[in-house]
Assembly symmetry: C2
Homo-oligomer: 334 residues x 2
């Protein structure tokens, strides 16, 4: 290749790191300058369960092959399910309590067909109720870097297919719980009797859907200690009895499930305010924030796109990239 | 047809009723004598979502066509999803409180391609949390006929795809709740990350599976007011961390879900003893009874196969069959 990639960084500061967030359903890449700034981004639908022909190597070359060719000295750091047992190369988990330093110490250098790739370990919480994360640890480290006030004591919630509720104390993840909410919604929508009316009816209006969502959240909240086990079927019976439009039923179900997650988590963790924060996709975090408000939790902030900063911080802790120069105030920039 | 069907009843008492329990996944038929005794049974996998070529008429002829030809005077009474909106012919629900008399009053005679079929209505519970049943009402009426001590006040639990908890007072179903437990288990087993290890590993031993089931129930019980929302993922994380054999994971999940149903129902209904009874498939009811014992509910009885007696009682209330002669003690036999 005779020319650098079109989205190349300016020549005055050669890229210092290629970061990958490689999960189950997508593959996202960032190119960092020497101060941790993101100078280019790419995304492909090549999660580890949706690899292109040619597998991991083809996906890697497809998304960052030209970056690697042009800047062979920039290390590659990859977080997420790519390091799982079914991933490109398995990386053992590091245990709670975990921070950027312990995570960096667990990085595994892996010599792939595409050269050296540094794989970030996931985090494991031990018995009696073990739990695991892979990829979210980078988002958490990024959130703590973005807002250092969270480090002392906070509850970081990462909505998604498998929503994580992570307790941070003294800058370390001390424990966490996975809620299956996103996957539960998807399987009920696609495969159960609850999703059938909506599959036929299409979507309702924005306002009727928002109202159905709030109604589901409120039903979960009012279920008290019983929870929603005996309310899930109302997603169908309300439609049969004319009390809910089929086109709004999935939003009601979403409200029931997110509401149940909040109800259950509050019974476990107590009130997360004032140091509760939602991290992740803005639209989904917006749903969670609406649900939080129904539970009387206001002022919950949303942080989006903290993964790249987390990868950079982990790379710094692992000395894969040079420490940034001190600023005039004596504080490093990133 | 020149000969009566091979499973025909003796000529001394011509059949009085053909009863059908026609649900989502199966079609069961009973032939009754004039005293309500079952003299022949048949079953086909032709639920309304699994009809043979030729649809309802072909299924009907396939299972009871010869009975109808030989005993054209015997009425046909059918309960279950066959009377739903997506069934052979829709039958409006009757409202709670419901008993054999109000259910019989809601029967709809339907002139099908195969002649007259009397369709049993389902039962509806009104707002704010409407609920519906179709088919279970016949099992409940049968359970009350089988054990009249349940009529005054009892809680009748019918495990299945959509488990029903029905409160009976003064011989009438006064309210009920549907738990999605069976369907939830099936969609998580077949379509979620929780079922994947077991799909690959096959089944464990009987004793390891039973222990995993009890462990799941106990986890649900100990979850207290939080419920199992934050514990479902342990079905996977325990396997990943070596704390649960993949081959036993589905039994653990079954225990979690049935345990959550019990936890939630007890928070709603209170202690169902002493008048709690399980009605339905013996193996599934056995799981529920094991779970009940973990919650300290002992002495819960199991009644199987109450549907035919329920159909007969509904047919009597509808005067589709003649009232039985009084016995020497003045009590009718059935």
């Amino acid at each position: 290749m005779s020319h650098p990639p079109a989205d190349r960084h300016g020549p005055e500061s050669p890229p210092a790191l290629i970061g990958l967030d490689w999960g189950t359903s997508s593959l996202r890449a960032c190119l960092f300058d020497g101060l941790g700034g993101v100078v280019a981004r790419r995304s492909r639908p090549w999660g580890i369960q949706h690899l292109p022909d040619g597998g991991y190597a083809a996906a890697f070359r497809g998304v960052v092959g030209d970056w690697r060719d042009h800047w062979p000295d920039a290390p590659v750091l990859a977080a997420g399910m790519v390091g799982s047992r079914t991933g490109w190369h398995e990386v053992p988990y590091v245990a709670c309590p975990a921070d950027a330093t312990t995570i960096a110490a667990g990085i595994v250098p892996f010599t792939s067909e595409c050269g050296l790739v540094h794989l970030v370990p996931g985090v494991v919480q031990d018995a009696p109720f073990p739990d695991v994360m892979r990829g979210e640890e980078a988002q958490i480290i990024g959130a703590l870097a973005h807002d250092p006030s969270l480090a002392a004591r906070s509850l970081i919630v990462l909505p998604g297919t498998h929503c994580k509720w992570a307790r941070v104390e003294d800058g370390r993840v001390t424990r966490f719980t996975t809620y299956l909410t996103g996957e539960l919604f998807a399987v009920l929508r696609d495969h159960s009797v609850l999703g059938r009316p909506s599959r036929d009816a299409g979507d309702g209006t924005d306002s009727s859907r928002a109202a159905a969502f709030r109604r589901g959240v409120e039903t979960a909240r009012q279920s008290g200690a019983a929870g929603v086990a005996g309310k899930l079927f109302t997603t169908r019976s309300l439609v049969l009895c004319g009390g809910l439009a089929a086109a709004d039923a999935l939003d009601y179900l979403s409200g029931l499930l997110i509401g149940e997650e909040l109800r259950s988590a509050l019974a476990t963790h107590g009130d997360p305010a004032p140091a509760g924060v939602l991290v992740g996709d803005a639209a989904l975090c917006g749903r969670y924030r609406t649900a939080c408000a129904a539970f009387g939790l206001t002022g919950i902030r949303v942080l989006d796109d903290t993964g790249p900063l987390g990868l950079w911080r982990i790379a710094l802790a692992a000395r894969l990239v040079p420490a940034p120069p001190a600023t005039a105030s004596g504080q490093p920039r990133a």
